[in-house]
């Protein structure tokens, strides 16, 4: 177990070094001008030099991402369950859900600002808008494809319907739920940044980057991108860890907690 974790961390580190190496190589050997693309180290230096400004902005973007993600996840789960339970609703809602995803997000931003102002509101809506869809689809799929034999088993044991739902169907849908959440997690930060681009008064990471670009400060532009990416990756990793923790039966031989009726000898 431990060694697998170690290998994963090592692999991630290696891929980070690899990407930075390629970046460095392109800039140096391609003789790219520093105002077009900085070297990796310069990008890092640019953000660390202005950290006192960037840190609050980062936290702000992180907050938009997290709130929006949570809203989207909850919405997605609710939609998934409701659509699974009520077939008619599924037929009515499914086309609508697909339409929501066909609308270009950028086009959505302007009216949202009008409705919700320049604050947290529109960003949360945009992020949730992006996140809920893969969650709904995966939860619905998971619930639809619960192993029929297990449902039969529940009937044999004389189960009530809602207990079957809680004890059999919900756990069976956890793995698909996390597939949806992971897709949502990678897109969430993109949604937040789109929201910031379309609806920022005052300051935000997107605006900061926009200004850096206007000043031909490529190092800061790339640096800001690194921060945004880091937010996305951290959130994704958190979800993956959560999945790891929530589905022990997929990788462990025994349960973690020792809960038994009698004293264990």
């Amino acid at each position: 177990m431990k060694s697998r974790l170690l290998r994963n961390v090592l692999g991630s580190l290696l891929s980070f070094v690899l990407v930075m190496g390629i970046w460095q190589a392109i800039v140096v050997w391609g003789q790219v001008a520093p105002y077009i693309a900085p070297r990796p180290l310069d990008a890092f230096r640019a953000i660390s030099g202005d950290w006192s400004t960037l840190w609050p902005l980062t936290l702000w973007t992180l907050r938009e991402t997290v709130y929006g993600f949570l809203a989207g996840a909850v919405l997605g789960v609710v939609f998934g369950i409701v659509m699974h339970k009520i077939a008619m609703l599924q037929r009515v809602l499914y086309p609508i859900l697909i339409v929501t995803q066909a609308i270009p997000i950028v086009a959505l931003a302007a009216p949202l600002v009008l409705m919700l102002g320049f604050n947290l509101g529109p960003k949360i809506v945009i992020v949730a808008w992006i996140v809920f869809f893969p969650v709904t689809v995966n939860v619905l799929d998971g619930l639809t494809h619960v192993d029929g034999d297990l449902l039969t088993l529940a009937r044999v044991l004389g189960a009530r319907r809602w207990r079957t739902f809680l004890v059999i169907e919900v756990p069976a849908a956890i793995a698909p739920l996390f597939s949806g959440l992971k897709i949502g997690a990678t897109y969430a930060v993109t949604g937040a940044i789109i929201g910031e681009m379309a609806a920022s008064s005052g300051s935000s990471l997107a605006l900061y980057q926009h200004n850096a670009n206007a000043n031909l400060n490529a190092a800061a532009v790339y640096g800001t991108t690194l921060i945004m990416t880091a937010i996305g990756i951290s959130w994704f990793l958190l979800i993956v860890s959560l999945e790891f923790w929530a589905t022990p039966w997929r990788r462990r031989v025994t349960a973690r907690r020792r809960r038994i009726g009698g004293k264990h000898k």
């Binding site: 044999v156 004389g158 189960a159 004890v167 956890i174 589905t247 462990r252 025994t254 038994i260 009698g262």
Partner: protein, 253 residues
């Protein structure tokens, strides 16, 4: 009369399309008896159990337990299906207590009894294992314990020992007999193994296929408790050849 019969089947039948899985079958099973069913593959044994357990709706006829009509009612009997279905995200303990969790509030007592029974029958070290980590024989034992845990008087066991080696199988047979005796259950037991059927039962029903029906009903008059010696006795072999004749000697209907 009827209070002695725990289970009564009246003119029960079932077809799937043009396949007659079970043709008109009437049957009484005495309370406290151990009845085995043998027959070729596809003769409707599992179909019969599916109907008794309420999973499958018969095309006609009725099923009575204690004179109550339970046709298409689930949760009235303990049924261990042919396929050993364990819930992959529940441990051995969680699987044994699954019935309680699905029907009512799981109590401390449920858990303690599950631990007890698991420890007594060789799964004590595996209480917290997930099914993925169990052998086929262990899985079958867990499924059997789960079936017993709900305390239904009537037990339907569909080839419960199919995946066991001879040694474990014999132990499990002994165990089942002791459970049956101590807890005063009534057992209907499907097997392909004629030795097993004769060894365990008070009565063996022989079925034949196309259409699926009961062709013979043999009372096994062997002293209990039965031991290894029983297996080699002349009377035992007499019953055995009688059943085998029925199974293999059929030329026509």
């Amino acid at each position: 009369m009827s209070h002695q019969d725990l289970l009564r089947l009246e003119a029960l039948r079932k077809s799937f399309g043009s396949t007659v899985a079970l043709s008109d079958t009437s049957l009484n099973v005495q309370r406290g008896s151990f009845v085995s069913i043998v027959g070729p593959s596809g003769c409707g044994k599992s179909t019969l159990f599916n109907m008794i357990s309420g999973l499958e709706r018969p095309d006609g006829g009725s099923i009575l337990i204690d004179d109550r009509d339970v046709t298409t009612r689930t949760g009235q009997v303990g049924y261990m299906m042919q396929k050993d279905l364990l819930v992959p995200w529940r441990t051995v303990l969680g699987n044994i207590t699954l019935g309680a969790r699905l029907t009512r509030r799981l109590t401390y007592d449920d858990r303690r009894r599950a631990v007890d029974i698991a420890q007594r029958y060789g799964l004590g070290d595996f209480l917290h294992h997930y099914p993925m980590a169990l052998s086929g024989g262990m899985r079958q034992r867990v499924a059997l314990m789960r079936t017993l845990a709900l305390d239904h008087e009537l037990l339907l066991l569909d080839e419960p020992f199919g995946a066991l080696d001879a040694q474990t199988r014999f132990e499990m047979q002994q165990w089942l007999l002791s459970v049956w005796r101590e807890s005063e259950r009534t057992v209907l037991f499907i097997t392909h193994d004629v030795d097993e059927a004769v060894f365990l039962s008070d009565r063996v029903l022989v079925m034949s296929s196309r259409p699926g029906r009961v062709v013979d009903d043999i009372t096994i008059d062997l002293e209990r408790p039965r031991t290894l010696g029983t297996l080699t006795s002349a009377v035992f072999n007499g019953y055995k050849s009688q059943i085998l004749e029925h199974l293999h000697g059929r030329v026509g209907p």
